[in-house]
Symmetry: C2
Subunit: 314 residues, 2 copies
């Protein structure tokens, strides 16, 4: 796109539905508004706004473009606001980016413990349903599922973790038993939305030979909650299992995936001792929590009757 500012003009016109009103709002002549939008349309090769005597209406392409235009607007507003802020270093605040499985099922207990011991510490967790691409000012550090191949970054491996197929006991009670891989065919599979898989490490189901996703989400946490509520079966992080009552792994000896978490930081932060200390603590506690959660899973499976009684849902 040649000129981002044309999007600003388009957005005003889409909202005001008249060149005159958009021009007033933008403090531009209506002729200019019309030309700018026409220029954008020409650049994109699409009509974005259809002109009729009742006013303007979005075309299909225009409607598709709207959310992105709004996102851009929000970013521009935030950019303007960020310039006004008088930032005095990080000053006790640390921002971590993480895939949402880690952000929901691992980080909260770790951050709760660290903050309990460090009352002056403020932590922000950016959970995104995809791999976080560290940029220095988006976050201070990130947890990733693969090693970044470019960028001036330092990478430390946190730990391996396992994933398995799982379903709720209630779902399993209502559906044919699964005793081998063929038995999976009759089941509803829950996983990522295929066109929203941003890292090949996340493409679990393809690796297991399960391709059709009947119910999907861009978020691991949502997938987990779908499985938990009996929508079907899908791949679950072992460390997430203790978060729900009544989940059962399926054919764990036949279907098992191992992945790794990495702590990713910007090289330039090596000299920042506050961040170094936090990163050390985070690493240590994440590793410990993973071991602890995996123990819980093993114990729950070693004593299934006891687990079922303790994990009775509300």
């Amino acid at each position: 796109m040649t000129d981002w500012d044309d999007i600003r003009i388009f957005l005003a016109l889409a909202r005001m539905e008249s060149l005159g009103r958009a021009g007033q709002h933008l403090r531009l002549d209506p002729a200019t508004v019309g030309r700018r939008v026409a220029r954008l349309e020409e650049g994109l090769g699409r009509r974005l706004i259809s002109r009729s005597h009742q006013g303007y209406a979005l075309t299909e392409a225009g409607a598709r473009l709207m959310p992105h235009a709004i996102a851009a607007e929000n970013a521009m507003l935030a950019a303007g606001k960020s310039a006004e802020e008088e930032q005095t270093g990080l000053s006790g605040q640390i921002r971590i980016g993480a895939p949402d499985g880690c952000a929901n099922f691992l980080l909260p207990q770790v951050i709760a413990a660290i903050c309990s011991e460090n009352p002056a510490l403020d932590v922000q967790i950016i959970a995104l349903p995809r791999v976080f691409n560290l940029s220095r000012r988006e976050a201070d550090m990130a947890i990733g599922v693969s090693r970044p191949e470019t960028g001036r970054l330092s990478v430390q491996k946190i730990s391996d973790y396992q994933l398995h197929l799982a379903a709720s006991a209630r779902y399993l009670a209502q559906h044919p038993p699964i005793t081998d891989a063929d038995g999976l065919r009759d089941h509803r599979i829950i996983g990522y939305i295929p066109d929203m898989i941003f890292d090949s490490e996340l493409d679990y189901l393809a690796e297991l030979g399960l391709e059709r996703v009947a119910v999907g989400s861009n978020s691991v946490a949502v997938q987990f909650n779908l499985i938990r509520h009996g929508a079907g079966l899908g791949v679950v992080h072992d460390f997430a299992l203790p978060a729900a009552a009544d989940m059962r792994r399926i054919l764990p000896d036949q279907f098992s995936l191992t992945r790794s978490f990495y702590l990713i930081r910007h090289l330039d932060d090596r000299g920042v001792s506050r961040l170094n200390r936090f990163a050390e603590t985070l690493l240590r506690r994440l590793r410990r929590e993973l071991v602890h959660l995996q123990d819980m899973v093993a114990k729950a499976e070693a004593a299934p009757d006891r687990a079922a009684a303790l994990n009775r849902p509300v």
Copy 2:
């Protein structure tokens, strides 16, 4: 901000670290690059890039602006891409956008039930840690927390729901008791990351007079898990409470928020009977599930000893 396009130029200069290279990349004269960035700096009243003979480096204000510039870039790229798409029909698959609180704590059980009754149905849930702004091609329908004020949309109110301050029983046992509003001051508050609140309806804490967020996330689910694991107290959707053992509402008579969910569809879909039927079913079941979950909360509080025993954590 006067000209959004200046952000594009700034971004290139920040990345290339030289007027010459940025100009090459942008197909602009270096003189133009310099002037455009200077104009942006003048408009914002801030130096964004410091000039030295080793090249250019971001100032602090420039570094703060970077993530927003990147977000704008992503939106612009997506906008350009959206204009290219030739979208075909849906064919048995339905995509729903929802705020992540709804996507994690309400939709999974509803979708599980609907899919159980309709095996040929494929559902995709797009969970975003912000209000989803419906565009026809991003999703077939969306659940929102406010009524859209513009756009050719049909809006149906799903239901009101309540939010309250809450904390885990373990956290409460380890911290000073809270008997009135003043008692909140000594507690760690968990909430949204302030610069990532995209809809004023989500600004719960400001409405309650609680402003400092010690531990934050862009995701309601992560906030919930932080609270659940004892990181502090924060605002929780009532309908989410049954998903965790051992959560307690705090001063529910003094601090209570009511919000609403809306089902938002595009007007042009009114004639699509498959979507109409799905929307009807979704509406009905969401309303029922909300009533059911709120009943569970009320019952758990009416019998606290019994609730504590049943909700013993693993």
